[in-house]
Symmetry: D2
Subunit: 343 residues, 4 copies
């Protein structure tokens, strides 16, 4: 009997306030394609939250879609994007970036994060027309392994990208958890001020669907809606996205949901550490990677769903546990109790 | 003061039963990416409705997305698709098909429908490697101007496409209205049996979002989910699509909604005809194109939203009125009453 | 026994002076990729001939390649190019433009030429993000049916394109014949001053291979060599192109060759007219389209190769005769004599 | 004063026999687009040399072009190709493969060669539709660093690729040198029998231009000419390619030229070794990578052109010396003498 599924942060529907908002507005007639009053209101709320009243903001369905259309819109055919090789665009998007014609310059990274030295090296190596021309840097906050860029790190990337005329783009599928981590010293306003474009993930933070792309760099704004439409990403009922983001950015719901996910993860980390287990990555967000004996993993798997991440040695493996806005306190308690019993 | 918006069939949210279904299932944990129990159930219902238990069925967000990924998946780089020049892929998808690398061979059509002679002509003209190789025929049911293919017409297209090894693909953004038109002699089972692939439109028939792609031809089935993912069309919370189609294909809701849209349009057609006005197209579905004097249009526009379609002569223009599952009887009555007063 | 092949203007190798130049320079070591001294010299000659010392000039292999890389380089993903539906990019390039992701807005044209009204109409119809955004106009000089734009026509197109921010691009596969036609009032310098970019065809005017792309608009110049390389169009031995264009633009060889092709065609037109035959198009260049009785065509075909162009009526068809720099006077005489005998 | 340029194997024109063949055939009228008698003859010669009378053979202009069109033709949109990260398609083609929409799965390799373990690992890691699907393996013979696959290695790759349904494709830009290396135990017939498709490089082995693509796998043959045309790779005067390959595969010219390049390199290796210098790679073909003190490199550079390849330590660097069919014995002697004087 499965007590709880820790596989990801999109196993449930939406936060109940969002379902209510959808129900309440349901029969109002609205303009299509993202120009409805809810989308406009959501955009104003996000502009305020990001501290950029001039930002162009577009609501789309999913992260892979957002990444492909952002990069396709901003890059000329021969231009490439630099990313860590564990990045979502490198591994888990079925080549969606390449499908738009662009190469990804993959670098190793450290703890899921790109380093300034790596960016410098790629720029140095690509110096003439027989090679692609690096024109953007893709990072995610939080990263694929739950880590976050500090304010200092993000500022350094920002300076470096400006120096090399590289577009700095942040995949924020889990931006809520990145921003509200107890280890984060970077708020949304500062992050926004440092990057050319980013997106705020809704799907993994309490929405049914939806990511909000925020374009700060004025050079990147023109004709973006053409790209959205061409990518099949312009929903007829854009209200579906507008209503959700309008609700998320009302009364700090977006942050509250992310904080809950983070604090559930922190409880797990605390309890797991207390039992003497270590972690593959030092993640301060809602994805954690404890290392357990294989026989413990096997037993845990009878009551909990989660992914085995990697083999650590003959007897131990790391697993990935993901918490979310919806994780009940009881699920965390149960897990720790069952783990203690197995330890 | 606007009394009603006849601009399109996606001005409201979803049918209340769909909202209820979303609310009711909201906190159940489900597998992601369309493998949840709701999607699986919806697929079984659609297979039964289409009379093909072997069909591969995939739920995606929107029509432009569906068209691009279907054609991108099925065509080799140099292969093209034949379509009428008023077709949605020719005009209103910002070049999404070309963006996947494929040419559209556009033909004139008649009343929004392609003719066998046109297909034959395109095939005849493209005979060697200096030209694209036609490999698919794209039609929509109902068409962009509300007309429908009869069973006889569809059978002819099917035979012709088989003869020339052309994939016959039906864009069913408004398939509900196409099938339930009082003039239709083609049911879903027969339509499905005649074509290689089609999609069933949810967005324009009572869903918040969602189109169900039905692949009948076994040669076209392999690896389609790779294409979905690459196109950014694989929703993490696939349940959002599954729950809606599961509800639509329960108790004939899908057909009931379409029938309501059609009968609302029929009432309008009847009333408008009685007042002596003609129509640009003889549409038996939920998009109608009456011709009014320009001064009548101007007056009507003070109380109703709709698109002016085309200039007919110096004094008269055609307009497009679209009804939907949500059109209140009162809106139809009001419109006819106001029109009578202006006539 | 075939006396002569009038099918096209690329049936022979190169003008003997070009073969000599290749032989003479053969063992000199040169830098690769178009930076050899011959390419640089050719570029200077073409700049002088075109009257634009600032032009960026790139030598590539063929016309389809030139068209695809020019448009791919200059257009954003959702931007389209307007062309007549008989244009080479519309019909005879196997969808090479669409393969780079761009839609062609095809219009009817008149005598192979686009009209300002057609451009205006396409621009007017494409007004929002659900449609592609027209950004370029493609024409050819001479056209696919041998006709040419007059100076007045070209000036009008230039003004219109500037007004609508459209890139005006001339496919000059047969530019030599276009410029040296006895009916032409447009020289290379004026043509160049009126357009953003064009290419000068070598393959069809005495070279083995090679087209010279001339970019006048400074906004279109940056990073073009990246596009060339990405399209597989940057020859390692760029000298092959450089040597040929250097020779062609020495001592007016380029013009002399085109004049010979045109005057051969004029002789044919004169002789054919004298025999009482008419023409499908009034072509003043090296492609002519006489209309003959089918039985005459059949007989001619025993001694001459050419394409039957189109059926004119039950008994008569048009054929295409192409002359070139290499057409011997005798071939023209023979043809006319044999035609007279059949008439 | 530069005595000789060792930068590459395409600094000269063509072998004199090729120039003569071009001159001799120059005024013969031929069919265009690769269907001329010279191309047909060349294809027959290559079929015989490769031992596959059923092979489909296509002559194109350059290597980047060949690679892009082969992979674009054979892969579905979501399919990828595995290659070593030093491979030409990974580094020096300005993202031409990605421009056709396909991801390259880059692996480290060993001495420029891919290992079976690396292929196995990529296949194992890519197991579901969120990731690209590996479908081809790209290798080059000789490699970018002059090394060659042995017959045993090639057989292993062949078996592995068959097992995993991977297309094995050999970039043969320097296949001549690969086959005629004194260390090679793999002849053209066996190589051809082991791979699905490969190309035979002309440009770097005595032609002005030209690569011959050989398709052995029948499943990959259909409609390849459509791909060639769409890629702008179908030369109007295909004779230019046909004449050259016809000559190269007459009287073993192709092999003789490659042997000369290899033996020049061997002389350099012998002389350099005797002087006590080592090499970065143990290359048995026409690209060698000796390691010299930086001050020696500086001095050599006054009389010879070559690329500095990489820094070995503070005082020493590796350089790349490339010999060719045209390298005079004297140039090798001079170089060794000058090096001795500096040592």
């Amino acid at each position: 009997m499965i007590k709880y599924n820790f596989q990801n942060d999109y196993s449930e529907g939406a936060h109940p306030r969002i379902i209510e908002a959808l129900a309440k507005s349901n029969l109002i007639q609205e303009v299509g394609y993202g120009e409805d009053r809810f989308s406009l209101s959501a955009i104003e709320r996000i502009r305020a939250a990001a501290g950029n009243p001039q930002a162009d903001i577009h609501l789309v369905s999913g992260g892979t879609q957002a990444n492909a259309l952002v990069l396709d819109s901003f890059l000329r055919p021969f231009e490439s994007v630099i990313a860590v090789d564990s990045g979502h665009i490198c591994v888990h998007e079925t080549g969606a970036i390449e499908a738009t014609g662009h190469k990804i310059n993959a670098v190793k990274g450290r703890d899921g994060k790109i380093t300034p030295e790596e960016i410098q090296a790629v720029v140095d190596e690509h110096y003439f027309e027989h090679m692609v021309k690096p024109r953007a840097v893709y990072i995610s906050q939080s990263t694929e392994v739950g880590t976050i860029y500090s304010a200092k790190e993000m500022r350094e990337l920002s300076v470096l990208c400006k120096k090399f005329n590289l577009i700095l783009y942040v995949d924020g599928a889990r931006l809520g958890c990145g921003l509200t981590s107890s280890k984060s010293d970077l708020d949304l306003k500062e992050l926004s001020s440092l990057v050319d474009v980013f997106y705020i993930g809704g799907t993994k933070n309490g929405a049914l669907i939806g990511e909000a792309i925020v374009i700060n760099n004025p050079l990147l704004k023109p004709e973006f809606r053409y790209c959205i439409k061409q990518h099949g990403a312009l929903l007829a009922k854009g209200r579906l996205l507008g209503i959700q983001f309008d609700e998320l950015f009302k009364d700090n719901l977006f942050y509250d949901l992310a904080r809950h996910a983070n604090s559930s993860a922190e409880s797990l980390v605390g309890g797991i550490s207390k039992l003497g287990y270590g972690f593959l990555f030092d993640s301060p967000t809602n994805q954690i990677f404890p290392i357990f004996p294989n026989r413990v993993i096997e037993k845990l798997n009878e009551s909990y769903l989660f992914y085995v991440w990697s083999k650590v040695n003959a007897d131990n493996s790391s697993v990935r546990l993901v918490t979310s806005w919806a994780t009940p306190e009881q699920a965390v308690k149960d897990f720790l109790q069952d783990l203690a019993a197995l330890s």
